[in-house]
Amino acid sequence: MPKRERRRVVGSEQVGPYTLLRLDRGGLDAGLPGQFFMLEAPGRLLPRPMSVCLAEPSELAFLIDPIGPGTRALCALEPGERIGVLGPLGNGFRLDVERPLLVGGGIGVAPFPYLSQRLGGPPAILGFRSAWHAEAAALVPNAEVVLEPTYVTEVLPPGHDVLACGPEPMLQAVRRLTPHAQLAWEAPMACGYGACYGCAVEIDGELRRLCVEGPVLAAA
């Protein structure tokens, strides 16, 4: 298991409603795309799980949606501040795919910039609630954007190896269309390393701890 380290914030920028938080990478292993780090949220009891968005030689970046007190505290961090980080954790995407297609919705695009880089810039279909949210698509090369009320599943071309991340209804719809897709799920987590049993999600009637069995799971 990785050790918890303190890392310095080197940048924080707005991307639509989201914040791209850049941390000094130091000796941190970025892991595979889809793996995540537990980031200390200043002033809060529990850290927050965030997948790696960008893995540069000198920094790791995380795309954060300020939806609660912890994520708001992370988005309010300023360069020079330090936070505890633990990772990489969990299981990422398998990269041995022949015709990759990234399918994402909303903040689910967070792992795609790094995933796209590792797969050589495959096509991507990204769905957003509004044009403002869709500003995040600029982080992903070769992306086709759809806005609500259009859903990504309405424009999904056949014959691809789908790698998907997004809200649960989107993932459920994607797996109905592409039974062999790799899906990155999301759940509240207290620990990220199998201790708390909090991140169980029900998939086909079975509860699975996302942090140790996922967050990327094969659909079929």
């Binding site: 298991m1 050790k3 918890r4 537990m38 200390e40 809060r44 009891l45 529990l46 850290p47 609660g68 007190p69 912890g70 505890g84 633990l86 759940a187 509240p188 987590m189 207290a190 620990c191 390393y193 199998g194 201790a195 708390c196 049993y197 909090g198 991140c199 169980a200 999600v201 029900e202 079975e206 509860l207 140790v212």
Partner: protein, 305 residues
């Protein structure tokens, strides 16, 4: 003084490095039959702690003994098994199965899970039934959310318990910021973390006076100072729970912080600090000499005031 994990706050099989830092590893509660646990959402953070409603998810005693126990024993850390159930017979059944295994050093009876609908029958009956089927050390884990904790502690003692684990979580509720609906699918859950610290201190303090049983103190321990205060209230061992979630290195850190706290407070070792909060004072040379040093100072202050 030993440092343990609070039951349900560590899986030794997914984090063996963390388990190896402990003086004893306490398993998640084992019940007779496998349990998936409660539907998600199962955890929520609040401003003063966290709520969980996991619901005793576990593989059941058969799979635990056959598959989990041998692998946990390989870690080489003394092993306590947390025993749960929904009737006296359930507890006795699980206790008999795990109590006959050499890998198991002690049993902790979870008599106080707030996250299941079926509550165990009275503490005396459960402890007495389990006492009848195993000679392993038995710790009764109690909740502070009862009208007469001292009475329960004495019941556990008279039924044959060897120690107390204090405290389990207390029930709490968190509402969603926007919808004002409960965050947890189950509604309420067990509150742990910093909010539990004074509750644990009071429970340990009371039971130290009410029974001679050794006490494992737990509830919001995040620093060496927190551990020292539980010792002073009367705990002889300390367990770390929620703090493990944010910091898997918490046990090693708390251990070294505690050493510094003990020496700053003038205690030669942790055992000398046990019960230091009580009026009767300590029975060791260290504590007596400490009282002798402090007493004139207090008297001086009183006379001046």
């Amino acid at each position: 003084m030993r440092l343990l994990n609070a039951s349900g706050c560590l899986d030794a099989l997914t984090a063996p490095e963390v388990a190896r830092e402990l003086d004893a590893y306490v398993t998640k509660t084992v019940t007779p039959l496998p349990r998936e646990g409660n539907a998600p959402v199962r955890i929520a953070e609040t401003d003063v702690g966290m709520l969980n409603a996991i619901g005793l998810a576990n593989p059941g005693v058969d799979a635990f003994v056959a598959e989990h126990l041998p692998r946990i024993a390989e870690l080489g850390v003394p092993l306590w098994v947390s025993v749960g159930g929904f009737s006296v017979e359930d507890y006795a059944h699980v206790a008999r199965r795990v109590g006959e295994r050499d890998e198991v050093d002690a049993l902790e009876l979870n008599l106080s899970c707030p996250n299941v609908d079926e509550v165990p029958e009275n503490v005396w009956e459960v402890v007495a039934a389990v006492r009848g089927v195993t000679s392993k050390p038995l710790y009764a884990k109690l909740s502070a959310a009862v009208p007469d904790l001292g009475g329960l502690a004495r019941a556990a003692e008279s039924a044959g318990a060897d120690g107390l684990s204090l405290v389990n979580t207390v029930r709490g509720l968190a509402l969603d910021e926007r919808t004002l609906r409960p965050v947890l699918a189950r509604g309420a859950g067990g509150l742990s973390g910093p909010a539990l610290r004074p509750v644990a201190l009071a429970a340990v303090y009371a039971c130290f006076r009410d029974t001679p049983l050794p006490i494992v103190g737990m509830g919001g321990v995040a620093t060496g100072r927190d551990a020292l205060e539980l010792l002073a209230a009367g705990a002889s061992d300390v367990a770390v729970g929620t703090a493990l979630f944010s910091d898997p290195g918490a046990v090693g850190r708390i251990r070294s912080e505690l050493e510094a706290e003990l020496s700053a407070a003038g205690f030669a070792n942790a055992d000398n600090a046990v019960g230091a909060a009580h009026d009767a004072g300590g029975s060791t040379l260290d504590q007596r000499s400490r009282l002798l040093v402090e007493k004139p100072l207090h008297m001086g202050a009183n006379m001046a005031g």
